[in-house]
């Protein structure tokens, strides 16, 4: 399902597939929540300074303000809504790709390149190989005073990174 939502955001689904996903989105609150989260994540990536929480409801509100005079309440307005969202998602996906390529591009410098090669090295460590040290370090690091427990995200997040090839 996640892949389908992602594909839908990127505008890569065929019409009938998209219809099916949209239908599920409309009927299953969990999936709808997922959809919103994806947008939020794209939003954060794209513009970390201005996170628009709950973007879909904002758009829905705007759409509701739009006069729908005598048009029958039907799929037409729905399609318009989803089309708008889908287009927005494509833009986001593009910006995301651009953002990622900037990240990759910046790795050419020797220092970062060294980091990269060693990141591969880290992958060969057992999952818990460094966590003990990180935990022990964080216990005393001034970062804990400033960031509180969020600084432990290094340890939570890291194991993920460790396992990646």
């Amino acid at each position: 399902m996640k892949q389908k939502i992602s594909a839908l955001m990127d505008g890569e689904l065929f019409d009938d597939d998209a219809e099916a996903v949209l239908d599920q989105l409309n009927h299953n609150p969990d999936i709808h929540e997922e959809w919103r989260t994806y947008h939020l994540i794209s939003d954060v990536l794209r513009q970390p300074n201005h996170v628009h929480v709950n973007i879909s409801s904002a758009i829905r509100e705007r759409l509701q303000v739009e006069p729908t005079v005598l048009a029958p309440r039907s799929r037409a307005s729905h399609n318009a809504k989803w089309f708008a969202l889908s287009a927005a998602a494509s833009v986001m996906a593009f910006i995301l790709v651009a953002w990622l390529s900037v990240q990759v591009g910046s790795e050419a410098t020797p220092q970062i390149a060294m980091q990269q090669s060693n990141a591969v090295h880290a992958a060969s460590l057992p999952a818990n190989g460094l966590d003990d040290y990180l935990m022990a370090h964080q216990e005393f690091s001034p970062g804990v005073g400033v960031h509180g427990m969020t600084s432990y995200v290094h340890t939570v997040a890291h194991q993920q990174a460790d396992k990646q090839p």
Partner: protein, 325 residues
């Protein structure tokens, strides 16, 4: 609690116009306010943590009451992991393994807030300035920039909630102003009602408690004396704030642990006998702003961990000396 902050903020905002000519000079209390708020405010929210092309979301719930601080950090991506802290005690829940590991700090020392000496260290090592005001996760924030005076440490930018002082976003930048890591709250509730159950572990995993080893003399007998070791090339501004022998999780022998701090970043140096650590390959690894460098020195394994650039941890590791060497 909140009234206290409000008062501080009122004082701050009324004091600033009086010294308008000082421009972006930061109120010296900001770092202290942030540190205080982190530990004294009740909050619950979701944040995104990003480093390189990695991105993770995690949920944090924090509550402070008469019995102290209670906190839960839980990752929302990948295998479930939870950290639960009750004051100084940290429980680490690894959902996949249905196991619970316990990490108990070995001394009472923590950083409930930035200590006065650390604040002065901060001012010596960083140029602290207020920057723009921004809206993050629906809250109005003030940005504060910590610009280091050399390239051996990272610059930090933090966005603090104007009312509570809570940190809503933090970015670590390298000398080329590129993002090393950042975390941003995307959803947050401040001073909301937090049910104690929200701070409980989500899974009632089959308990496997691994209490910490206590350091005994026999543990450490094979170990070189702590005073025999010196770290000679710690960057200017880093001061040793702690030295101790500690057991490291699962390790039978104790390790020597030095901690250096410049007020914002910490560098830990671990020294242990090589023993059966041949599998731990030396070299550099990095996770966001935290760099780890391991080096074998004679029969010892030196591990340096810090929220500093790679060359700083390498420089520190290379400067570890035994006795008169």
């Amino acid at each position: 609690m909140k009234a206290g902050f409000a008062l501080i903020m009122v004082l701050f905002s009324s004091a600033v116009p009086a010294f308008a000519d000082t421009g972006s000079r930061v109120d010296p209390d900001w770092p202290q306010i942030i540190a205080y708020a982190t530990h004294q405010t009740d909050y619950s929210g979701t944040f995104v943590y990003q480093h390189g092309s990695h991105m993770e979301t995690a949920r944090i719930t924090h509550m402070s009451d008469q019995s102290g601080e209670h906190e839960k950090l839980e990752n929302l991506d990948g295998p479930r992991r939870e950290f639960i802290r009750n004051n100084k005690e940290i429980w680490w829940y690894l959902g996949d393994h249905k196991a619970v590991q316990m990490e108990r700090p070995y001394s009472g020392k923590r950083f409930p807030a930035l200590l006065p000496e650390q604040l002065s260290a901060l001012n010596e090592n960083y140029l602290i300035q207020t920057a723009e005001q921004a809206r993050i996760a629906g809250f109005d924030t003030q940005a504060i920039v910590f610009q280091p005076k050399d390239t051996l440490r990272y610059s930090h930018k933090m966005w603090a909630h104007k009312d509570s002082g809570l940190l809503l976003k933090a970015v670590v930048l390298n000398e080329r102003k590129q993002m090393v890591e950042q975390y941003t709250f995307i959803q947050l509730e401040i001073d909301g009602d937090i049910e104690p159950t929200q701070l409980m572990p989500r899974q009632s995993a089959a308990f496997l408690e691994q209490p910490s080893h206590s350091v005994t003399q026999s543990d450490t007998s094979a170990q070189a004396d702590m005073s025999d070791w010196k770290v000679v090339a710690v960057p200017t501004g880093f001061k040793k704030i702690m030295e101790m022998r500690r057991p490291l999780h699962g390790n039978k022998t104790a390790v020597i642990h030095f901690v250096f701090s410049d007020g914002l970043a910490g560098i830990s140096v671990f020294i242990e006998t090589l023993g059966n650590h041949f599998d731990k390959k030396p070299g550099l690894s990095s996770r966001g702003a935290v760099h780890v460098y391991r080096k074998i020195k004679d029969d010892y394994l030196v591990t340096v961990v810090g929220e500093v650039p790679p060359r700083t941890v390498m420089q520190v590791a290379d400067s570890v000396r035994y006795k008169g060497q």
